[in-house]
Homo-oligomer: 323 residues x 2
């Protein structure tokens, strides 16, 4: 059976060319470039809550980093370093080294793609829990904050929303998707694309930004609260997949679209004068960027359907203590 | 019942005067001072493994930060910022807000004492798990590493060892301590003093350093391996409490002393020429600093008893998958 030190040595000690000192001492040492601030964020994923206990370990490794990269994207930061803490059930370590190998593969595959170095971590025995802290660089004073939205700003989203929540609803048997629909929606749930390149390009363009992890309404709501403004969003303008379109009349699909969460797309606001530049950026990055509404003075968030009627939802977004 | 956002707002959003941006956005922003590197370390504590599920939440909050501060001490870094991820069982959130209040009190009490800002975190529902990442500053190229020990170096330890393990053995009913002994040993287990000030003063004096979290033999072993050297330690020279002295003939007490772990004292090596300076530092800091042995050429670690005989132990230190 592997010891704690074996696990770290075998699976999680890799060269960290972007660090002064990587895994293997009491702490790692990193040095941000001159004039850069360090962005820091952390996320914890728990079996049975954020993923099924029998989830594909490769996808889990990927996703546990992706959700953190998405936070860097939302700040406009370039992700550079990460730490990983893993609590693993004893039987998993004793009998299933393949699990660790696949998890590490998924994690490092995405890390290498973004030139992120794993510089530290901890492994222990316990109910399967994954905690990643990500560190990135962003030019001093330039980070995209939630608090910068101004009345008159357009509200933009990247990509399309709701597929991850739709796939999860299918896995929970709350909805039935056709095989083709499953094929279309499942990657959004298991291997979301963090909009890391886009986020960095939005510096100087976007007035405020957030990543959509808890659902559009909840996350746009954070921007409104931090910026002390209101918003009107047209549901019909929110880009969604063909699968989502087919299910959209259903309340459950509307909920997935507006409040499902796990999208890891960016929601940002920008002055009207930036429209052309943002549309060009969308073409350059090959990522759909869509205007879905407008920031107003006041407080609150109104979502209108095609007929101009206000849509009311029971839940506004994902809350880990209210599900 | 508190929502995830309520928990963060009520208990974990405090001013972060040392950060550019604290809790409340997608990431925090920090900026190390000019010429400083950032030291990063992370530790995960799991209920039933690192602490009893009914542990005093105030002490748990304290200790979850202390074990991380200890890693900064071992690098000679000044701790400055931390993130905290918490998985909490649902009933604990629903019925026991006092738990959260006490946990936060313990955590922030120690954080304030060391001017550490909590700059980010995550709360979720799950088996009680605490993951802290600590960030500190250390002058470029000056950090204390495990790899710097040289033949001829003295081996030093701070404070005294084994009390935490003795207290744990008592709580596990593997040994019986007298009430006075419990009073003496228990604080080492629940509220260890991280040697933060000492660590920073050891820069330029110590050749290598580590904090003793897994037990003296395992942790000194890390120094030996990283530095490619051997060591001889005299057990009789290891400072220990009156309680430990009374139990020391027993094999269990020897194990607690040499391999118990959870000490969070520093073990460091320094050239013989530094003895006087280190003795003066001990007086200044009011922390016992004791020479317990010598670094030699070669490999391996030999511990001698008072008669000069080699001591052999079954376990060499704490491994989270072998207990």
């Amino acid at each position: 059976m592997l010891s704690e030190f074996d696990i770290i040595r075998c699976y999680f000690s890799r060269p960290a060319p972007g660090a002064v000192l990587g895994v293997g001492d009491d702490a790692a040492l990193i040095k941000p470039a001159r004039g850069m601030e360090v962005a820091v964020s952390t996320d914890m994923l728990v079996a049975g809550r954020h993923f099924f206990a029998d989830a594909d370990p490769r996808k889990l490794g990927y996703k546990s980093l992706a959700v953190n990269l998405s936070d860097m994207a939302a700040m406009g930061a370039r992700p550079r370093w990460a730490t990983l803490s893993l609590a693993l059930p004893e039987p998993m370590v004793r009998t299933d080294e393949k699990w660790l190998e696949a998890f590490a593969d998924g994690f490092f595959g995405l890390a290498h793609a973004h030139q992120v170095d794993l510089v530290g971590g901890d492994t222990t025995c316990g109910p399967l829990t994954i905690s990643v802290t990500i560190l990135g660089e962003v030019a001093k004073g330039k980070a995209l904050r939630r608090s910068g939205a101004r009345p008159g700003d357009d509200i933009w989203i990247s990509g399309h929303l709701g597929d991850a929540a739709l796939a999860l609803a299918h896995e929970q048997r709350r909805i039935v998707l056709e095989p083709g629909e499953i094929m279309e929606c499942l990657p959004a749930l298991h291997t979301p694309a963090a909009r890391v390149g886009l986020g960095q390009r939005l510096i100087g363009l976007a007035a405020s930004a957030i990543d959509i992890s808890d659902g559009l309404l909840a996350d746009l709501g954070h921007i409104l609260k931090c910026s002390k403004v209101a918003a009107v969003v047209k549901m019909g303008d929110i880009r969604c997949s063909a699968s989502m379109k087919r299910h959209l009349p259903q309340p459950l699909a509307i909920e997935c679209l507006l409040a499902g969460g796990d999208d890891y797309e960016l929601c940002f606001t920008a002055p009207r004068a930036r429209r052309k530049t943002i549309e060009t950026l969308s073409l350059e990055q090959e990522i759909p960027l869509t205007r879905i509404g407008r920031i107003r003075e006041g407080g609150g968030l109104v979502v209108l359907d095609a007929a101009g009627n206000t849509i009311t939802l029971e839940t506004k977004g994902y809350d880990h203590f209210h599900v």
